[in-house]
Each structure stands twice: as structure tokens, then as C-alpha cells.
């Protein structure tokens, strides 16, 4: 079977097998953005309490999936159930009530640039809770200590490196001990020491507080250490699902290509383009 034909028939995924009572249940999700099919009737479950990684080639819709889960983007069709509520049908007030239980680490950190590190982490607390200043300060310092930036409490975002900004954003995402944390590319720009600590932190939050975590990442070694399950997205479908060990065995062309990093496989490395020789004018010269 050629790769082209395999593209149309990704590995079957049994969503029901993921969990009996999943925190997130997605059924028949279909999304088309700018004429490109991102999801084609995707079914997916995220179990409670564990760390689920969502992986896949760039542009395959991982961040879009997170935006569907958090109600930032409505799908063209399908249902997105989070903690028993269909996000697609929620009004703004109900959606905001749900989001209060979700921590979200943005790909580009999205720190509030006019506020200090302390105020950035304190922002969700100040907006939703009336805590005494001493309690609020201790909470913020505890979270900053967890990401190793307690000493940077008075710095402004423009004084931080990319990796430090990501750690501050992580502290802000976990400051209210949410029911669900979505980490969108949490390891980008981190040095090995910080990466190791963040991996441990994600694992600790999951194991000690029972927080459900969704991790969008490309760093295989880190994902292998932290994730309980991995969804591999490709071609608008779930290409593979399983534990890191199961997926690494690579019994499908999708997992084989993704985990070996081969350019040749069902996922084309090259963006669709005209014939290379023709575009360079070499075909004409040969004649």
C-alpha cells in the first residue's frame, strides 16, 4: 500500500477505550479553516487526571484542537464536551465559568506586558477571588518558586528571556490549581535544567493534585517522560493513540515516520508546490 492511499485511511481510534468517564469527549469534530480541512469527523477522549500529549506534524491542528476545547473557536460540526458540558452550545457566561477551571499556557506566553511578573501571576486571582494581600502574595510566590522564578518577581516581561516568560506563563496557568491545564508547546526555549524541572512539575501536578493535563509538544524525550497517553494527529484524523511505549513501537507508517523523523512517509515534508526542476528552469535547459 502506497503512502497516498494510507493517508486516506489513518489508524482507527477507539475513543471509548480511552476512559469510561473522560473529562473531555469530542465527537464528530469537523473544522475547515481557509479552505483547508483541519479535522474530519474526529472522535477523541481525554481521561481525567492523567497527562495526555497531542502530537503531530506542524499545521496539523493541535493548537486549533485546544481552541475548540476552550471554546475560543467554534467547530464547523461536532460536539466538544468538557466536564459534562458541550462547549459549542455554551453562552458567554457559562463559557467563562468553565474557563475559570482551566489553565492555559499559550504558545507565545501571552504575558500582560504592562504588568510585572508578580502581577501577571496574580492577575487571575485578583480578577476572580477576593483574597487578603498576604495570602495572594504567598500563593503567587509558591507558584513562582515551583517554576524557579521567585527571584524574578519584580521584573517586567520585557526583562525576561523567552524561556523565563514561558515559566511565568506556566505559573500563571497553574496559580488557581485548575481542573484542566492545557500546555501549548511548554518546552520551547527552555534550557535542559528548566525543561527537566517543568517536566517534573507537570507530572507532580497530575499525580498530587489530580489535575488533568493536555500537552501539545514536539519534544519526544520530554513527552515520553511526562505523558500517560499520546494522540498523534495527522491528515485531519487521529493517526494513532496509545501509551508512549505503544506508539514508539511504530507499527503504522504514521508513528514510524513521526518517531524516526523521516522525511519520506505519509506526512509530506514539503509543502505542496509545483515541480522543483520546472520551477528552477532546469526542465527547459535539459531540452
Amino acid at each position: 500500500m502506497g503512502y497516498a492511499s494510507r493517508m486516506t485511511a489513518p489508524v482507527a481510534h477507539n475513543a471509548e477505550a480511552a476512559s469510561a468517564d473522560p473529562l473531555i469527549r469530542i465527537r464528530g469534530l469537523s473544522t475547515v479553516l481557509n479552505g483547508k480541512t483541519i479535522f474530519d469527523k474526529v472522535d477523541l477522549d481525554i481521561p481525567r487526571g492523567g497527562v495526555t500529549a497531542v502530537m503531530g506534524p506542524s499545521g496539523t491542528g493541535k493548537t486549533t484542537l485546544m481552541r475548540h476545547i476552550t471554546g475560543q473557536l467554534a467547530p464547523d460540526a461536532g460536539e466538544v464536551w468538557v466536564d459534562g458540558r458541550n462547549v459549542v452550545t455554551l453562552d458567554r457566561a457559562a463559557l467563562f465559568a468553565l474557563r475559570e477551571k482551566i489553565g492555559y499556557l499559550f504558545q507565545n506566553s501571552a504575558l500582560l506586558t504592562d504588568y510585572s511578573v508578580f502581577e501577571n501571576v496574580a492577575f487571575p486571582l485578583r480578577q476572580h477571588l477576593r483574597l487578603p494581600e498576604v495570602v495572594l502574595r504567598n500563593l503567587v510566590l509558591t507558584k513562582l518558586q515551583a517554576v524557579g522564578l521567585r527571584g524574578a518577581v519584580d521584573l517586567m516581561p520585557h526583562e525576561l528571556s523567552g524561556g523565563m516568560m514561558r515559566r511565568v506563563a506556566l505559573a500563571r496557568a497553574i496559580v488557581r490549581d485548575p481542573m484542566l491545564i492545557i500546555y501549548d508547546e511548554p518546552f520551547v526555549g527552555l534550557d535542559p535544567i528548566a525543561l527537566n524541572q517543568i517536566v517534573k512539575l507537570i507530572r507532580t501536578l497530575s499525580e498530587t493534585l489530580g489535575i488533568t493535563s493536555i500537552l501539545v509538544a514536539h519534544e519526544l524525550s520530554a513527552v515520553r517522560r511526562v505523558a500517560d497517553h499520546i494522540y498523534l494527529l495527522a491528515g485531519g484524523k487521529i493517526a494513532a493513540y496509545g501509551t508512549p511505549e505503544e506508539l514508539e513501537r511504530g507499527d503504522t507508517p504514521w508513528t514510524e515516520q513521526f518517531f524516526t523523523g523521516a522525511a519520506d512517509g505519509p506526512v509530506p515534508f514539503q509543502y505542496p508546490a509545483p515541480d522543483y526542476a520546472v520551477e528552477l528552469g532546469l526542465a527547459e535547459a535539459r531540452r
Binding site: T70, Q72, F96, A97, R99, E100, I102, Y104, F106, Q107, N108, A110, L111, L112, T113, F123, P124, Q127, H128, R172
Partner: protein
């Protein structure tokens, strides 16, 4: 082809106006929620009002001086130089004060609102607020809108005061017009309700329009550096046109 393109641009412009109108209603709906961010509103009044004082005061002083100079020259040909202060005051209170202040406000505060909100959009700060269950319309836009409405009349009053001072310096101190004549003619001819208060109403409307346009352009900008640059330019152009058009309409109704 050309007709079709013109038609398309016209419908695009109408769609933008419609979207801006809907945005205004969303701001009105967000205003009650924004009252809990009172400190933020005060900070924005400082930012769009107090920080605009230098340009407003400087321009007011020079515009008043030029007005005084020109009017003294023209009116003295008809033996009416004593009316210079009166004409300066009426021109300022009725038209020049609110309109010029609004144009300066659009250039100084409007552009900074667009750039700030646009960059917040481009760097996902707006999305981050929504994800933290904080309504960006209530936290970011409504305080700026209220600040514009509060700051603009104050700026117009300061602009007018400095402009009259400029005219006084030119007419009285430089050209030798009698000080008592300058003030007494002015106070006798200027009516608080028809001249001063109508100017204040205009300034409130211009403040609302300029901050609405600035916020809308920033909030809906394309999340790129080029998108923010275009949005900032559009803020100045659209605010200027809207101010002048609204001035005509309001003058027709208020006269």
C-alpha cells in the same frame, strides 16, 4: 470591472461601519462590568488626558495667537479691532476648540490606543484574558472609551483657555488693544449655554467617536506589525473624517 471593485469597496466600508456600530453596543453592554475596574479607568484618563496636555496646551496657545493676529488685522480695517477677543472666543468655543482638540487627540491618544490594543491582540494578551475568564471589552476597551469621554471635554476647556490667553498676548500685550475692551466685549457676547455648553457637548461626542474608532481599529487589527501600522493610520484618517462630519451635523442641530 472597475465598477465591481468600487461596489466591493463600498460594501466593505459599509460592513466596517456596521461592525463598528455593533462594537459600540458591545462596549455599552460592557460598561457596567467595567466599573469594577475603576482604577484602570482612572489610569486611562491619565494616559489619554494628562499625557496629551503638552500638545493640547502648546497648540492651543499658538492657534489662539494666530487667530488673534489675523482677526485684529482684518477687523482693524473696519474699525472693529475691539471685537477681536469676542470673535476669537466664539470661534474657539463653538468650533475650533472641540474640533482641533479632537484632531490632536486622534493623533496623540487615538493612535496610542490603537497601537496598544492592536499589540495586545497580536501578542495574544486579549486571548489570554478571555482564557482567564476576564472580558477584554470590560477590562481593556470600556475603560479607554470612558476615559476618552471624560478627558476630551477637559482637554477642550484647557485648549480654549490657552488659545484665549494666546490671543490676549497678541492683541493686548503686542498690538496694544485695551485689556478691558478685550475682556468686556468677550464676556458680553459669549453665552454660556449656546456657545460654551454646546462646545462641551461636541467634545463629549468627539471623545466617544475618536476612542471608539481607535479601540475598534486596535481590537480588530490583523495580528501583524503591518496590520497594527495600517490600523494606526486608519485611526487618524477615520477619526478626522468622523470628527469633521459629526461637527457639521451637530452644529446644524445645535445652532
Amino acid at each position: 470591472m472597475s465598477t465591481a471593485r468600487t461596489s466591493s469597496r463600498f460594501t466593505d466600508a459599509l460592513a466596517q461601519i456596521g461592525a463598528c456600530g455593533i462594537f459600540l453596543f458591545r462596549i455599552f453592554a460592557a460598561v457596567p462590568r467595567s466599573l469594577r475596574y475603576f482604577k484602570e479607568t482612572i489610569r486611562q484618563i491619565w494616559f489619554v488626558g494628562a499625557m496629551s496636555l503638552t500638545i493640547i496646551m502648546t497648540c492651543g496657545l499658538f492657534i489662539g495667537a494666530v487667530l488673534g493676529l489675523q482677526l485684529y488685522d482684518v477687523l482693524s480695517r473696519f474699525g472693529s479691532a475691539a471685537m477681536s477677543g469676542t470673535v476669537v472666543a466664539l470661534a474657539l468655543y463653538r468650533e475650533l476648540g472641540p474640533v482641533v482638540t479632537a484632531l490632536l487627540f486622534a493623533g496623540r491618544a487615538g493612535t496610542s490606543i490603537t497601537a496598544e490594543v492592536g499589540l495586545m491582540r497580536a501578542t495574544d494578551q486579549i486571548a489570554a484574558m478571555e482564557m482567564m475568564a476576564v472580558d477584554p471589552l470590560a477590562y481593556v476597551v470600556a475603560p479607554r472609551f470612558l476615559a476618552g469621554i471624560v478627558a476630551m471635554p477637559a482637554l477642550v476647556c484647557i485648549f480654549n483657555a490657552l488659545a484665549i490667553l494666546g490671543a490676549h498676548v497678541v492683541c493686548v500685550s503686542w498690538l496694544g488693544l485695551d485689556n478691558g475692551t478685550f475682556w468686556s466685549n468677550m464676556t458680553a457676547s459669549v453665552d454660556v449655554w449656546t456657545d460654551v455648553i454646546n462646545g462641551v457637548w461636541k467634545s463629549v461626542a468627539f471623545g466617544a467617536v475618536c476612542t471608539l474608532i481607535a479601540s475598534f481599529q486596535g481590537y480588530t487589527t490583523a495580528p501583524t506589525s503591518e496590520g497594527v501600522a495600517y490600523a494606526t493610520t486608519r485611526t487618524v484618517v477615520f477619526s478626522s473624517i468622523a470628527t469633521l462630519a459629526l461637527d457639521f451635523v451637530m452644529t446644524a442641530f445645535l445652532m
